[in-house]
Structures are given as C-alpha cells and as structure tokens.
C-alpha cells in the first residue's frame, strides 16, 4: 500500500516538474522570431525566475573609474545613465563599460550551491566533533549518506590517484568540488531552476582552481618533465617542451569544456524535445501539438532521470580528473636514471 502510494507520488512529482517546464517554455513563446527560444533558456539572465514572477537582480557596473549601483535593469534605464542597445546596457555618454559586476542568475545559483555545501559540511563537522559518528555509529540516513559520499571521495578518488600521504591535503577540495558541482547540476532540474554549470565562466573558474592547485603542488619532477623531459635525445626536447607547456593548459581547458558542454547539451535537448510540442502546434494546429505531447512528455521525464544521473556522473568525472591531474603533478619519481639507460 505504502509502496504504491509512494510510486504514485513520485510519478506525480515528475509530471509536475515536466508540466512546469512546459509552462515556463510557453511563457517565453513569441519573444523572438521562432516559436521557441532555445538559447534564451540557457544563457545567463539579469533576473531570477521564480514561480510566476521574475526577481530582478542588481546591476553593478564600473564605467571609466566610476561605480554605478542599481537594484534592477529597469532602475538603470530609468536613471538615464544607461541606454539599452540590442538587449545590452551601454552607458548613455557613449563610453564603454570597463567592468560589469552585475549579479546574474547563474551567479546566484553558484551561491546556492556553495551555501548548501558549506551548510552540509559545517553541520556534519559539528556532529562529528560532538562525537556522533566517531565514538558511535553515524546516526540517521543523512549522516550515513554523507559518510558514504565522503568515504567514496576520499578512498576511491583521492587515495587512488594521489600518491602516498599527500592525498590528505586535497580531500577537502575534492569533496567540496564534488558536492557543489552535484548541487549546481541538480538545481537545473528543478522547475524554474538554472544550471549554473551550463555556463563556461563557472566551469572555467572551477577548472582554474584545479589548475592553480596542480601547479602549486607540482613536484620538482613535474617541472622537470615539463621543461627538460628526462630520457629523450636533446633534439626531441625542442618539440617536447612546447607540447608539454601546451599540455599544462589543455588539461584544465578540457575539464571546463567537458562539464559545460555536458550540462548545456542536456538542457538544450530537454528544451528542444518539449519545444516540439509548440513547433508542431504552430505548424499543424493544436491537435498535432497535443499528439506530439504524448510522445514528448514521457521522453522528457526519461531525460530528466538521465540528466540527474549525468549530473552526478559529471561531478564525479570532474573530481576524478582533478585528482588525477593533481596526483600526476605531485608524484615524485625515482627512476629517471634507469630511463636514460634504457633509452641509450
């Protein structure tokens, strides 16, 4: 009985999510030339979409050494200092915006992810400090789940890829990255939610932190491998050194693009399949639209589950590759001399 009730509830919830997405997609209809504005749903906005209401976010801009603060885009326009050109704010005086520090929807969702991660880790740390979980077994499903995830990150990601005792230093970073990326990915599945990681700037910053950590903790051997590859003929080094230097930067670049493209493609796919309803309704009348919805809505529900899985998998891959890169840089070899002999 309880099982059946739970199943019905879950199904209803999924359909509610899908239905609200349809509604949100419908609201944007007619903004542009095409029936459904796909890119408009995935790019950054200066407002936060809430149920039935768009919360305008503050605009903060630096124009030629002077800061401008407005509570919303509208306030900036009303003040007369800024005019709108092609949907972008430009100063009315004709000069250029030096720095646009406006708070955007993606940034707000990054904050949500960070705050949730902080809340989770700090509350759990307090529990462990009080002795729950250390002297006793972990209590409650939440602490058990936390411990499973933490032990997974520590043992399967950090310990396996970062050599010796060095891995201890990186567990906090890897765990924080894993949890916050998971939160950011999953927020995109909520109705009106925004996938912050479907923005190249967000993922680029995350990859940049990994890059800095990797280089900062690079051992002597790491730098030797970059600039003076051991065990190869001297002429080869002319080719190898530039390749190694480029390799330093392509690793975090691929890291950023992988997460970004995965989350973006998932989002575009859902919008396109739901958008088929409106495209068909526009082309062949509303009956065709209703007909397509019988195909689109279950497919979107399935895609939602797939996207939830992909969201967690991509967070895992990001963390795993971060650990692999850090481990590769921090590793210390002892076999250089043998290598030279083997090649000679």
């Amino acid at each position: 009985m309880l099982q059946a009730f739970r199943r019905v509830l879950v199904t209803l919830l999924i359909f509610l999510f899908v239905a609200s997405s349809v509604k949100a997609a419908q609201a944007d209809e007619g903004d542009s030339g095409s029936v459904i504005d796909v890119m408009g749903k995935v790019v950054d906005h200066h407002y936060l979409a809430l149920p039935g209401y768009d919360l305008q976010l503050p605009r903060i801009m630096l124009v030629e050494g002077e800061w401008y603060f407005y509570t919303s885009t509208e306030a900036a326009l009303n003040s007369g200092d800024f005019v709108e050109e092609n949907g972008v704010l430009v100063p009315a005086s004709g000069s250029e915006i030096t720095l646009d520090m406006s708070i955007t929807s993606h940034l707000v969702y990054v904050w949500f992810g960070v705050v949730l991660t902080l809340w989770l880790t700090i509350s759990m740390a307090r529990r462990y400090r009080r002795g729950k979980g250390r002297k006793t077994e972990p209590q409650g499903w939440f602490q058990n789940l936390f411990e499973i995830v933490f032990v997974f990150v520590r043992d399967d990601i950090a310990k396996q890829n970062i050599s010796d005792e060095k891995y201890r230093k990186f567990v906090p970073y890897l765990f924080a990255v894993f949890v916050s990326i998971t939160f950011m990915n999953l927020f995109g599945l909520l109705p009106w939610g925004v996938t912050a990681t479907a923005d190249i700037t967000v993922t680029a910053i995350l990859a940049f932190i990994t890059f800095v950590l990797t280089q900062w903790n690079g051992s002597k051997d790491h730098w030797e491998h970059v600039f003076w590859f051991p065990g190869v003929p001297p002429l080869m080094r002319i080719i190898l050194t530039p390749i190694e230097i480029i390799g330093l930067f392509t690793k975090p670049f691929a890291l950023a693009v992988r997460l970004f493209a995965n989350m973006l493609s998932g989002k575009i796919m859902i919008i396109c399949i739901l958008g088929l309803i409106f495209i068909f309704a526009d082309l062949f009348g509303s009956i065709a639209g209703i007909g397509v919805s019988f195909f689109s809505v279950p497919l979107t529900a399935a895609l939602y589950i797939l996207k939830a899985f992909v969201g967690i998998l991509q967070a895992y891959i990001f963390t795993l590759l971060s650990a692999v890169f850090i481990g590769m840089a921090a590793e210390e070899h002892e076999h250089h001399e043998e290598g030279i002999e083997a090649h000679a």
């Binding site: 399967d156 691929a254 693009v257 992988r258 493209a261 795993l320 590759l321």
Partner: protein
C-alpha cells in the same frame, strides 16, 4: 555554409566519439567477463578513459556550435 559545415562536423565528431567509447565499452565488458573480481577497478578506468575521449568530442561539438551560430 557554416550551418552545413557544423552539421557535417557534428556528425563526424559523433562517429569518432562513438567508435572510441564503443571500443572502451567492448574491452571493459570483455575484461569484466574474464575477471569479474576486478570489475570495480575496470569500471573506474573505463569511466576515466571515456571522459577523456568525450572531452575531445565535446571540443569538436563546441566548434560546431560556434560555426552554426556564426560567432
């Protein structure tokens, strides 16, 4: 012209990534069948390699998107 190039390019990217990840899946399932007790390690290595291939494919896909949008 850019749209055509993007479409063909996306297709080729999908072919390449499909072959690559398919080969990983093939050898991973074969080795798990041969040595089921090493399934955990093999799965980890499989996901890692698939992610690396996917990275290249996605960079190709991004180039295609940029072509299609005419940026």
């Amino acid at each position: 012209m850019g749209l055509l190039a993007a479409g063909i390019g996306a297709g080729i990217v999908a072919v390449g990534a499909g072959i690559g990840i398919g080969m990983i899946g093939k050898s991973a399932t074969e080795s798990i069948a041969r040595q089921p007790e090493a399934a955990g390690d093999i799965r980890g290595a499989m996901i890692l390699t698939a992610a690396l291939i996917e990275g290249v494919a996605l960079i190709g896909a991004i180039v295609c998107i940029l072509l299609a949008l005419g940026v």
